[in-house]
Amino acid sequence: MSTLDSTFAGEAETALAGSAPSARARRGRGWRSRGARPTSWTGWLFVLPALIMYLVFVIRPMIATIQYSFYDWNGITAATPVGLANYTRVLTDPLLLASVGHSFFLMIFYTILPVIGGLVVAALIQEIKMRGLGTVARTTLFIPQIIPGAAAAIAWVWMFSSNGAVNQLLSAVGLESLTRAWLGDFTWALPSVGVIGWWLGLGFCTILLMAGIGKIDVSIYEAARLDGAGFVRTFRSVTLPGLRQEVGVCVTVTMIAALASFDVVFMSTQGGPGTSTMVPGVLIYELGFTRSQVGLASALGVVLTALILAVILPIQRFFRED
């Protein structure tokens, strides 16, 4: 879950960072109106501790990564500049490209299914809440959210194993012919990894969307009910339009989680069998820390970041539009 958590935390941080300067600016204008000299540096003083941490632990590593990506470096001895060779490799190596393709496939499970499922479940819980079962449903759905992704992956490895829960369930309902070692199957390993991501993401989307539903004026629901609207009609005409921004956040966060996935894949399959579940996150780790090809790993990291931005920015714009 750490991927979702950290991205989510990142969102929150951005929101906070966004509000800080505007508050300061308001205060600044207030002073100016009273004729005091604008002292823009005092505000910076308050931001300074956070800013230093941000520069040292976020900006500097980012710049270093970009710099490393132009070198052939093993992490220890002197590096050799190689120009764009690392980037050429990233953009032509079939394995590296395939790993990006796997990430996009994972989006079905990390993004599309959790958002759709979250919408349905949130709307259902909205109904249930009126009958007093909401808390139980909410808690159950949110439990995956508090389990670290790495731990969840281990639990799912057991469930997906030859005699695990998934196969036991299939056998119990007479589908014995479908049983297999899911994570060891070249065809089914990637969808199986996706199922783990779906399980992790569903609770996150549900809670976020429920919060969004809470913001929708109850009187609109009452009006819809008085007009004789059923569950489906209320969902389509009231809930869905009111959740545009929340859906935007869900889609953004889960897409980043899919493209930057590491923990679930690393703990469940390590990219196997073969390279059928290899994703860029695992490859970057593999290249940088196991193979000591820091330059190539950095180049892949830069390309992955650019790719995430290229995918996320248009989506952000779409959901921000009124």
Partner: protein, 443 residues
Amino acid sequence: MSRPRTGAAGLGALAAFAVAALAACSAPGSSSGSASTAPSDVSTDLGTEPIELTLYDGAGLKNVDEALIAAFEAQYPNVTITGRYDPDDVQATNAPRVLASDDPPDIARINALADIVGNGQLTPLTPWSEAYGWDIPAGQLAMYTVDDDGVRGSGTQYTAASGFVLTGLYYDTDVAEQVGMTTPPTTLAELEAAFADAKDAGVVPLMVGNQTGGGTFPVQMELNNQLGAQAINDWVFDAPGATINTPEAEAGVQTVADWIAAGYTNDDANGTDATTALGRFTQGEALFYASGNWDATTLQEQMGGKVAFVLPPVGEPGGTPMAMSNPVSNFGIPAKSDEKDAAAAFLDFLLTPEARQVLVDNGFAPSGTGDAPSTEPGSLNESIQAAFADLVEADGQVQFVQDATSGINTVWNQQSQLLFDARVTPAEYLANIQAAYEEQLGR
């Protein structure tokens, strides 16, 4: 939303910082990566002044290391060794950076030996070898040496092993009786006959945990038989021109591909990890399980007298027994250590009867030569120690093919998973691995 001016100023400051930081950066890495030279003035006398050493190893080896340290400190009362442990794979991954730190350990397990020597991070042991008069069998010494071209197997000694792992086939004696296997197989033909009998009796002939790459084990067993210890070791030691892409090697891989096709391995091998495979073997689900002495204690505890060990069967009757066997911890002295004499005394201690007994007591095979340390009669450990003695006598210690380069293990795992699903032919399997090997070595 209109962005306040200060926000723009902040962005400007960030950009300025970024440019400054970029401009200030020189090429990463230290340019002083010259090979470290052997000290000329060494001593085997540690005196009486207190000396403090740090030993860095994988957490899985803590028990044996702590036992070694206790025995060493008993001989050298003025020396204190503090063990420092990371999870095994973390230790292997982090070792180059830990050795590069300002306060490196004095004794450290070295996995990627050629790389770390190439980084200039280890101390040549030649002066101490001469001072102490180390007498190390050639097959073992090959694992400690690197030459000037970065090729392992000959040249200067940089490390010494705490002891050795030994690999082979464990078999379930109850299942063996059930399928009519009266004596353990010593040749490939006998092994395949036992496989066929087990298959007919409805038990898995060979349990493989290939999700974690266990399928490479039987492959290397047959590669050893086809190519011989020297060719495999040359390949692992990155000797110039070394290749495993040969018709003989292909025949070896074909043998394993035939086993897979015949159903001699569990059909969910790719979805089974090593721990699960071991667990299922202890439950009596299979006749054989290919592994090493690191599993001996667990197997003895779980199966009691129902488990036995045999070296990998030879290809032809009368052939040389061969098995993968390499250092438990290949200890070196980091170039930045400031207590090299004391660290060397610890390496010297590893060859003594006391240290050899410690290794055997912990289920491993001893370093150096000498009388076989004592084991509990009739135990699994006793048969493993006897097998190891035979192996050293026949000079049949072979390196693990997964250790050839720091990135090749992943490639072996991936290719073996493809092989077990019949998605590559033996020829493609070897060609792919050889290509990755040459690519990683920059050839």
